[in-house]
Symmetry: C2
Subunit: 162 residues, 2 copies
């Protein structure tokens, strides 16, 4: 829980409202399933796999199917409400598009840190200026070691990369 980014629970309703508007704007229907998925993502501080969302939802609405979660996520992604990243071998992780940030994933403990935007913004600008490469998604993942794990491996002498 060492997130330096400000966590705004007050924004939860705003996200919901914005999403509903977006769904309507595209001729879509606002269904319990979709509301549940959005709530699950908001509740989970922004980093969840499809299955985690599914499990969270199951508690309150056992009738919602996993495939619906996937389809809803796809729809929400098309609406620009959520995005997903592949952090490793397994499942993808979804988060609100509002949370424009880079994921710093610790290889050792799996912790996900959010890098301040300004650090990467410059990189994006330079990529565009020098290579003409336009980073549309505004997100990517950086694999490495968090402060603690790095320190541990430096000092402890436990070198065991899996």
């Amino acid at each position: 829980m060492t997130l330096t980014a400000g966590a705004g629970h007050a924004s939860a309703d705003r996200v919901l409202e914005r999403t509903i508007k977006a769904i309507h704007a595209h001729g879509g229907r606002v269904t319990p399933a979709r509301l549940a998925v959005i709530s699950a993502i908001v509740d989970s501080e922004g980093h969840v796999s499809a299955e985690e969302i599914f499990e969270r939802i199951q508690a309150g609405s056992p009738d919602i199917h996993l495939s619906t979660v996937y389809r809803t996520l796809e729809a929400l992604e098309k609406l620009g409400v959520v995005e997903h990243v592949h952090l490793g071998h397994g499942r993808a992780i979804y988060h609100l598009e509002e949370n424009l940030h880079q994921h710093l994933v610790c290889e050792s403990c799996g912790k996900i840190i959010e890098a301040p935007r300004d650090l990467t913004e410059r990189l994006e600008m330079e990529l565009e200026a020098r290579l003409g490469f336009y980073t549309r998604a505004h997100h990517f993942s950086i694999i490495g070691l968090c402060r603690d794990c790095h320190r541990r491996e430096q000092g402890g002498g436990t070198k065991n990369p899996t």
Copy 2:
């Protein structure tokens, strides 16, 4: 495919040699399958999925199984010879660890561009200085649009900065 030395890039042989040494150093065996996998990666300019490697190998050695390719890649990754990244929903892409670079993946045409190291080096340094996050892997993927696709989507190429 064929192990004809000398005709290819000068670095190809060096990679092979280094890899053989690494395999031996870890008590592993140098097998035709492993040589074929390494050659396939080197031949392919560094960006290949497991299946592409498999197909390349099939041409010369139809007896090598896909699962062997996976197992070999895993072994080579453990030895620090190759690395892999997940660029999208589908398969992972493998490349030589020597090729320390960032992948810029064009969302639209799928082209993979390699960003010059210095662009990202600064980001890495700042991540370490400000967050204590140490980017061990020295690689990550940035999704976006290449110059051409970006221009096309802009609609007519209004400006032309080079």
